[in-house]
């Protein structure tokens, strides 16, 4: 906790979490909620500490301390989404999943996280309360504890409702060697797998932002991917690298990992994409392979173990998981798509945010 909000993490009375939690006379965030005074103290105590409800927060120290044995994984991420609530999630659960999934990609079991909220003056307290509750639920489900936090309030017009910044700590899973997992371990011959259909999250959020008259039954895939990662680690699958295809989708992730040394050849027909996602993207002139997922894994596995990895995922209910390509020595481009017709084309990074097109 930093000095702006540490003064009030004292012992708790009775945690009352019936939403919306009444916070004095105010129904919206005021500058006073970030002042370090009574209102701020009450917000921290009655909302954040009451909801997250972890011993570290109740201890009300400036920093949380906890015993640790093993190799530590650390990740940090800032979250913003418009709208704050979308089918299948919201900013609160997204912050947990984003944090946990980065740890999972390092082969680390989620342990603890910090949460910093930047609130815009005028934000409805009922909205904040819903987000905090959702964050709490997602953290419990994912098995990660919120051990520290902070709140800042910015003037109206200087923020987008709520921003959340998180740092996650995880324990690298044994028997993983110290640096067995990572981009450096990718080499020609590896199989590339994905754990499920791509682009659900980005498409669901796009439609929540502006339905454009489209009615489809589509929810974000946002979820912890740690169970998927753990399954491969526990079974000693010859795993080399894990990534979650978030912003920029599969294309961005594969570009990043192919770097200058490799060419990934992806097989269009094998890449799982839901009909609904393909439909909406087609309509808007977007490519599903550029669209974010928040609950999928891309795995690089030694070819001999690819089918075993796939079977493990299928057995967990990830029935759309698929082997989508292979790693080759660098050819002309980082990522090449073999089309359904058998021809190939380069999959390029979009220069910026993909944009709906004219006609």
């Amino acid at each position: 906790m930093t000095d702006d909000s540490h003064d009030s993490h004292g012992a708790l009375d009775a945690p009352t979490l019936d939403c919306p939690v009444p916070f004095g006379a105010y129904e919206r965030i005021t500058l006073a909620h970030g002042s370090g005074g009574r209102l701020a103290a009450r917000l921290v105590r009655d909302l954040f500490v009451a909801s997250f409800d972890t011993p570290e927060l109740h201890a009300a120290h400036d920093a949380a301390t906890f015993a640790f044995d093993g190799r530590l994984a650390v990740t940090t991420d800032a979250f913003t989404v418009s709208p704050l609530f979308f089918p299948g999630g919201d900013l609160g659960s997204l912050a947990v999943h984003g944090t946990v999934n980065d740890l999972a990609c390092a082969g680390a079991e989620p342990l603890a996280m910090t949460v910093a909220f930047v609130l815009e003056e005028g934000l409805e307290l009922s909205v904040l309360s819903k987000l905090v509750r959702s964050l709490t639920d997602a953290a419990r489900t994912a098995g990660i504890r919120v051990v520290a936090g902070d709140t800042k309030v910015v003037e109206r017009g200087r923020g987008d409702g709520v921003y959340v910044a998180c740092t996650g700590l995880g324990r690298v899973r044994r028997p993983l060697a110290t640096d067995a997992l990572g981009p450096h371990a990718i080499e020609p011959g590896l199989a590339i797998l994905v754990s499920g259909p791509l682009g659900d999250h980005g498409t669901a959020v796009l439609l929540a932002r502006d339905p454009r008259g489209v009615e489809v039954d589509l929810v974000s895939d946002a979820a912890s991917v740690w169970p998927l990662a753990r399954a491969l680690l526990d079974a000693n699958v010859a795993l080399r690298c894990l990534r979650d295809p978030t912003r920029g989708g599969l294309v961005a992730v594969t570009h990043e990992l192919a770097g200058t040394a490799h060419t990934f050849v992806l097989d269009e027909a094998s890449i799982p994409v839901r009909h609904e996602v393909a439909d909406v993207c087609e309509l808007l002139g977007l490519d599903p392979l550029h669209v974010a997922s928040e609950g999928r894994l891309v795995a690089f596995v030694e070819a001999r173990d690819a089918n075993r990895a796939l079977a493990l995922w299928h057995a967990m209910g990830a029935t759309d998981a698929a082997i989508i390509g292979t790693v080759h020595a660098r050819d002309v481009a980082p990522v090449v798509l073999r089309t359904r017709l058998g021809s190939t084309r380069v999959l390029d990074l979009p220069a910026g945010e993909p944009m709906p097109r004219i006609c």
Binding site: G285, T339, L341, T344, V346, A351, M355, P356, R357, I358
Partner: protein, 419 residues
Amino acid sequence: MKHVDEWREPKLLRALADRIAREATRPWTLLEVCGGQTHAFVRFGLLDLLPPTITMIHGPGCPVCVTPLEVLEHARRIALRPEVILCTYGDMLRVPGVHGDLLSARSEGADVRIVSSPLEALDVARRSPERAVVFLAVGFETTAPATAALIELADREALTNLHVLSAHVRVPPALDALFASNSVDVDVDVNVDVDVDVEAHANANVDVDANVDVDASTNASTSTSDTTPTDPNTPCIDGLLAAGHVCTIEGTDVYAPLAERFGIPIVVTGFEPVDLLRGVLACVRRLERGEAGVENAYARIVRPEGNPLARAAVERVFSVADVPWRGFGVLPGGGLAIRERFAAHDATRRFALRGSVGADEPIREPTSCRAADVLRGRLRPLDCPELGRRCTPETPLGAPMVSSEGACAAYFSRRSAHA
């Protein structure tokens, strides 16, 4: 995808490609008009499926690419005015203008918003009565009806804060100019090799003189073009795949005069892989038979009469005008201007733009970009020395590398096949 998969079925596509290969007894060069078709050819790998006898050249059908620098600069200047909200299609944001693109104008404080329909601009205007809402309207006959609807609705609601900067263009005049410069080659070619229907052929010859005039005026008005009708770089185009969505509005008859005049087959073609190969096949069959004329290979969407309601809306709001095209110069009848009756909604009048750009500094196309040659089918993007070197989607030298319909952007993703 349920309503699309059947048009992408690999077996059907291979069967169509086989048939094209069997029926094409000699090399044919076809031009697909629309950038959307170019992208589909590349995206689905159809170019690799076609037999070596078939060469595809892409045409000027990218509305973003042919929008002149002057309009882009107008748009940027309007957008930077504090009272203005500029709405436009996503494609337009990254097209380099004289002083940068609209995305950089946005970072300088301009309120630029992406819409996927002109009617979204109407909502913006309703919600922000104190602001001037300007819709930068680009596109061919396909998107003009929606812009017409926007203007008529704004007029009906007396939304005096809604203005349209129209860069709408019409396809036939561009094809006319393109084929006029191509016609000499076509005739030579046709005379030597093909047993063409004599009447169609005669018509083509009769019209050559008139066409050369058109071309001459075109060349006179564009600073970048140094090509004459006998330029060896001028592509020899045997047949044409017309853009299906334009015909959805305009009908199929609109191409009849062109087909007759230049003695070529024009096949109205859709955008899905099966549609495209059907278009190629229909065109090849006509060429093999030596038959000019218009054929509708997109009958599942296009009716011969088009969409009279949409055309009527365009007719009420716009008049045909001589406008500059990037790569072509001023094309007679090449675009649409907002009629006097709707002058209140015309951004060029509201912001007194005519002639204002270029007075202080002349607007010149960047000499390094050969977009003009690409748009006229004279240079295939893969043959451009800058493609993938100085010109990439991140650092585009010209519009064809930016737009989702731009030919250079399409071929950039195909360069591996030729590397």
